[in-house]
Point group: C2
Chain length 675, copies 2
């Protein structure tokens, strides 16, 4: 194994350090090293039994790690970023997960200064440990359908929180099951029998001393899951639990304690912003999530040898590295390209987001509705620039997380049988990542929001009332040229390649608009078209962002020409492979001819695989995952795959301390147990 | 939930019992009921803690279930089929798995009568418990590359089995880790330093009394996996272990004990047959494997309600069942159609296989090479009919198991957040099924064999030396018509629809042939084309088989016209949805026009979804999975989804007996443990 990886690293002169620094900054890589050393020195973070342990052991381990991490964080005065990075190195969800993300953030963003005093300060000190309880057994995507009620009581100025049915039970709430003593509970606000929709309430659920549930609170862990088993996702039933007026988070809307009058949200577009921010993070992370799988599979497929190449000259050259088979390359290298594509896209979105936040700081937002996961056609984004960013973030979140999740399984399967072993390190990572396709907006649902936005934009373009932004520009362009046709030179011109993606989006947008506005088709009957439209648009955005990143003068000045040219090949592989997979929409929209697609395959994609192949190992090296983080026999930096598999199986595996009695008629099951 | 499923069942008059009997026979369904009653009565088969237990508990439970099942099998004198069916109801791999399948079968098929006496009889009585040890740490697909040696020793007429390197360690061997006391070991036969390739040897590995490994045998469990954790897949290193002459399984090839001369295989095509049989079984099972997921997701999506349909009249009709959303239908209903398509295809293959076996019984096979997973271009199937069936079985195994595995994940995700809970019953089923895409020939590797066969057939067609079979007929037809073009009426004629799939296969075959024979492209450079070709061909076979099954007079006489018409709609949905997904190859081959594909979507597929939708629940009911088998909160026959989720989480979940201490600075982790 070691020789082969050495050989791989010798055959390419890609400057790994330089690329890594360009991707992550030197500062960030140094920080990672520093943190890694701290974590490795602590026995509690030892990973060697992770794959063997059952859920009960794992979650307790995760709790003690979470505690220790918090201590270290205080001790070393880590920033939020450092704390986050340490968590990523540990690479397992912990029972503090939702406290550290959603609970603190919600208190901060949606609380008034008084509420910060009252709740946030204690929460920051981990005296209050909390969670974000929105989803119920009966409702997830449809937040408006939540059944938990918070009824205003003018007499004693309290709210009564209540779960009227079994389906009103909060469900899936991270950190709630066994850990949290507080929760932000989303409940239907009711004043004088009138409903005002879901609002956030701070509710204490467990005794701060005994950690037993308070009276009228029925709370617990929802049980094992496909992954995420180091987290205690929980349920919560409230039986007329009273909280004071101050427990309704009141930054955006509130109830006047004197009159019981409901006060309208003041600046919803800020919340809107948070959602956009969270989704941008998911896009950015998707690149690195996928890169873990690609790193493992690429290294392993360079070490794994199987069969001799029958066409090769000389027959005693030994077996071929499976990474040399084009059928392995076509599975892995486009994913390798996708990791960079997603990375640059996420970065691009973050920049846009931050620009917008600045612009908005003074400006009271004009967006009208902000609930995540609102129903079809219920969300009417304001006309400001944020609307474009919001739609973008929905579509990209869906595309990026689907790409990462499904890509990880492709990586796992590319490793053949050994990919199925826990020691591959891909399976558990995949299983833990999978819910990202469902939370923060189910990926299928999100596509409706993108379509709605595109339809709206198209209508405004047709009416001549459109704001000027990238989306309206591509729609305009299409309208101006559709009768002439396109004739994009996708095989040689990069800008034409990007333009072909834009053309397809525009074509599908106007098709959908025709169905909806002219043919008067029902919204439901068009969901499949909308999903395709959203996917097409998001693919365009990724291709555009990747292209823009390489075109950026900053990039050109930071990287040497060879690295740049390699990244450029990855860009082309990503775009052309996507084009090939989605060929029929490119034909149908007349963005390309059938012949071009065939050539894209035979002349371009297959050739790019060959050109990128020698650099594959160095390219994954540039993602800079420490072995400790990957925890993978197959993905080891030194290539000692088989030694590590054997060591884990024979030395670390507790089952080998148990001697079975295998005979059907003996009453004994275990003859010896030396664990 | 109950009301909604009742309503679903009322709105369709599909005769569920009749369809079920047609699919499985009444006898078979009665047998299932009988077995179910026996199993449910035994405490050892209680499933209620399965999802909560860790690997060590689960595998011990599985062992005691395997033992009890064996006892019941003896007690009730079950047939092999009944034993198999009971295992399917239990639905988890057990440590006896490989004994009952591969070990017994190999001894039976590859042993001489003397060897049957010596090994098979004891194995049938579970005195010898065995496994099939072929794969090694370093070699899986490439069986010829195995490193374990069996060296013939003329002096004392023994073989010495040896693992020369770490990578020679047997690996992945089911039932070997902790259970087996015997193994069939595939090893490179060496006589006088000459190598004769891999051959099967019977090797005792553990003491029959103490169950401790014998001297010079290093054996153990390989550790946890993505799924399949109730099975002890094992490793095995042999340090010059001696076995007598009789331990080489000698039905097909042998060593003359007097002279040490190697005796050539007599009738390899019989082994060839076994492989075909195993793969046909995988195809047939794939339908039912997938049907489990489709049953769960369909029932749940009929119970789950989320959002109101904005276009619907009357606004207080309550929320919509998510099964009404076309975006859910397009994910589930084509999979429902695929379950039937795979079922009929598997059945069709079995029939062909059995006919062939009969024909071959007298006939010495002419196939030349029979190792499963042989290398590229190494397998030269004989020219007999079996070659067609063999290639068919390779391609279909790959397509069917990929469809089932990936379809299960689509079903899981269609259930939204709750799909991620273990209680959905899909996740663990998926995880256990997944290796089917890798074993019995890695799905990507198998496609090379299909392509090789099709290229060969095309060459023989061009040379006018082709045998007459379905494959050569479609190639002939294409050659005769390619200049005229096709003009298939895929939207109204079923035979044209099937013919369009055949046309695409033929087109891709001749394209690939041109690349290989005229352009002299390397085998490796064409693997991606081969994979597509094999997929296209296999899709054709499934469409053809589904069509033939409905056209069969037996079918027509067994089913009422309404059921037939519904199955016919499923056929069309399956074929047209596949056509749409693979649109670009249908254009490129000129089998259809772009316009036809667009119409296939808007006019046909979307309409079929609507027509099939009301019958969805009854259609899955016809698969007749007992609740006990599904072990799913979401898939319950009675629709009591939420009640069951809540019950399992709050009553069965042991984690809720543990009270955490959540504070970072307290040294205590657990305050109370009442488990
Ligand atoms: C591991 C995990 C952790 C979580 N953590 C939290 C947490 O900490 N706090 C919290 O509040 N929540 C949490 N959630 C819940 C999560 O946010 C929801 O599961 C998610 O919003 C999806 O909602 P749902 O499960 O109700 O899906 P549903 O809305 O029920 O969707 C079911 C199916 O119907 C489809 N569908 C639904 N409506 C439509 C429509 N209008 N049109 C077309 N198709 C439709 C969906 O695409 C899906 O296929 C978590 C979930 C998971 C899995
Ligand atoms: C759960 C489980 C149970 C098993 N049980 C048993 C058992 O009981 N007994 C037993 O003997 N074995 C068993 N196996 C082993 C199984 O048969 C092998 O894993 C399988 O044959 C694949 O071989 P491999 O793992 O060596 O994959 P490899 O051949 O190493 O494949 C690795 C990758 O390279 C690709 N590749 C390899 N060669 C080529 C080529 N020439 N062209 C193109 N691509 C190529 C593959 O597609 C794959 O992506 C089991 C495996 C699993 C996962």
């Amino acid at each position: 194994g070691s020789d082969l990886l050495q050989q791989e690293r010798n055959q390419s002169n890609l400057d790994v350090d330089k690329l890594a620094e360009f991707l992550f900054t030197k500062e960030c890589l140094d920080r990672q090293d520093k943190l890694l050393n701290i974590l490795r020195a602590e026995k509690v973070f030892d990973k060697s039994q992770n794959y063997f342990n059952g859920r009960n052991e794992r979650i307790l381990d995760a709790l003690s790690r979470a505690k220790r991490l918090r201590q270290l964080s205080v001790q070393h005065a880590w920033t939020q970023e450092e704390y986050q990075m340490a968590n990523e190195l540990i690479s397992e969800p912990t029972p503090y997960g939702l406290h550290a993300s959603m609970f603190l953030v919600t208190l901060r963003d949606q609380g008034t200064p008084e509420q910060h005093n009252l709740f946030l300060e204690k929460a920051q000190k981990y005296e209050y440990i909390g969670c974000y309880a929105q989803t119920e057994l009966g409702h997830g995507s449809n937040v408006r359908g939540l059944e938990t009620t918070a009824t205003w009581n003018q007499e004693d100025r309290t709210f009564i929180l209540h779960s009227p049915h079994l389906t009103a039970s909060k469900w899936w709430i991270g950190s709630l099951g066994r850990t949290a003593n507080y929760a932000v509970v989303m409940a239907q606000l009711k004043i004088n029998s009138k409903s005002y929709g879901p609002h956030p309430f701070v509710v204490q659920i467990r005794d701060l001393k005994t950690h037993e549930p308070l009276e009228n609170v029925h709370v617990g862990d929802i049980g094992p899951k496909f992954g995420y088993n180091t987290m205690d996702n929980g349920f919560l039933l409230l039986n007329r639990v009273k909280v004071p007026h101050v427990n309704m988070l009141a930054r955006f809307s509130s109830v006047d304690p004197q009159t019981g009058k409901y006060l309208r949200p003041s600046s919803p577009s800020l919340v809107y912003g948070t959602l956009t921010y969270v989704r941008s993070t998911i896009v950015m992370q998707a690149g690195s999530v996928l890169a873990r799988g690609v790193t493992i599979a690429t290294r392993y497929c360079a070490v794994r040898r199987q069969f001799q190449d029958r066409d090769a000259e000389g027959s005693d050259t030994g077996e071929d590295q499976v990474l040399n088979y084009t059928m392995v390359q076509i599975r892995l290298l486009p994913l390798l390209a996708a990791t960079f594509a997603l990375h640059f896209t996420g970065k691009g979105m973050m920049v846009l987001y931050q620009e917008n936040q600045k612009r908005m700081a003074g400006d009271a937002g004009k967006a009208s509705d902000t609930d995540r996961g609102a129903g079809p056609e219920e969300l009417h984004p304001g006309t400001d620039l944020l609307a474009d960013l919001h739609a973008t973030s929905c579509g990209l979140k869906a595309l990026a997380s689907t790409t990462a999740a499904e890509g990880l399984e492709v990586c796992r399967r590319a490793c053949g049988g050994h990919g199925y072993s826990s020691f591959s390190g891909i399976g558990s990572w995949y299983a833990d990542y999978l819910p990202t396709t469902t939370w923060e907006g189910d990926n299928y649902m999100l596509t409706q929001q993108v379509a709605r936005y595109l339809l709206k934009s198209a209508r405004s373009v047709l009416q001549g009332t459109a704001a000027d932004n990238d989306t309206t520009r591509i729609l305009h362009h299409f309208l101006a040229r559709q009768d002439m046709g396109a004739a994009f030179d996708v095989l040689t011109s990069d800008t034409d390649l990007v333009a072909a993606f834009a053309w397809r989006t525009a074509f599908l947008t106007f098709e959908a608009l025709k169905h909806r506005d002219d043919d008067k088709k029902s919204w439901n009957s068009l969901l499949v078209d909308f999903w395709r439209l959203s996917t097409a648009h998001s693919q365009y955005l990724v291709v555009k962002n990747f292209h823009a990143a390489l075109d950026d003068p900053m990039t050109k000045s930071s990287l040497d020409p060879e690295t740049l040219s390699l990244l450029h090949k990855l860009f082309r592989l990503h775009a052309l492979h996507t084009l090939e997979r989605e060929a029929s929409e490119f034909f149908a929209s007349a963005a390309t001819t059938v012949r071009q697609i065939q050539l894209a395959h035979t002349k371009a994609v297959m050739k790019l695989l060959e050109e990128i192949r020698p650099h594959a190992v160095r390219l994954v090296d540039a993602w800079r995952f420490p072995d400790w983080q990957l925890d993978s026999s197959l993905g080891r930096y030194d290539g000692k795959v088989y030694e590590d598999m054997f060591y884990r199986a024979s030395e670390l595996n507790p089952l080998n301390q148990v001697t079975f009695d295998p005979y059907p008629d003996s009453g004994i099951l275990v003859r010896k147990d030396e664990r």
